[in-house]
């Protein structure tokens, strides 16, 4: 019984963490129409479009497969 008493604060703490973490999942997804800033060119990993195309061409030639390198225009997935 005493052991259980000791565990109680831990149990409550874990529950609190669980609830707090769930906040990350609830209603916080960035909607497509909210991606104004993400769509800006400076939000891409690569700076130069031409250079990226060149690098990707070499990479896909070496791999014998293309695609999967994402889309342009940052996280918007539209540009």
């Amino acid at each position: 019984m005493k052991k259980y008493e000791m565990q109680k604060p831990l149990y409550v703490l874990l529950l609190m963490i669980m609830l707090a973490l769930s906040g990350c999942a609830v209603g916080t997804a960035v909607q497509p129409w909210e991606k104004e800033t993400l769509a800006r060119p400076e939000m891409t990993f690569e700076g130069d479009k031409l250079d990226t195309a060149y690098t990707e061409h070499i990479y896909s030639s070496k791999e014998g497969a293309s695609g999967g390198a994402g889309v342009g225009g940052g996280g918007c997935g539209c540009n």
Binding site: K3, Y4, Y11, L15, G27, W33, E34, K35, E36, A39
Partner: protein, 171 residues
Amino acid sequence: MVKVMSKTITGFLVAFFVCMSFSSVSYALEAGGNAPDFELPGEQGSVKLSKTAGSVVYVDFWASWCGPCRQSFSWMNDIQEKYRSQGLKIIGVNLDAKNDDAKKFLSQLPAKFTIAFDPKGMVPKTYGVKGMPTSFLIGRDGKIIFQHLGFKEADRESLEKQIKVALEAKK
């Protein structure tokens, strides 16, 4: 100890599922279903979808910062002019958070179709918009014919063909 552990785990699971049940998931509208009505401020007065009943309506969700949206504008202008007499109405729902951005875009690229402003993004939420731009074609009966995501130059022909079919369909 084992009992305590199992209690903890049960507590975890209960908390997890309770939290999961609160998460809101928006579902995309399916073709054949009724298009939800909306009323938004436009350039000249309010824009209401149900007021266009009887016409074929092409609802396009766009924003000034979205490249393909810019591309689609000239096409929508063309298509609106071409099929206006047959009863096509295009409504471009702008989703810019800042209205000035939309105004600036429209001064550069004037729209020959109806523009509505939804800076809070309420309508795309009910329509389950998954990307920009997304368009919906609504038949004369108020039912959704198709949903189209994105815009490429290559889409022009097939989209126009589907609009033509919708215009020729009986009421």
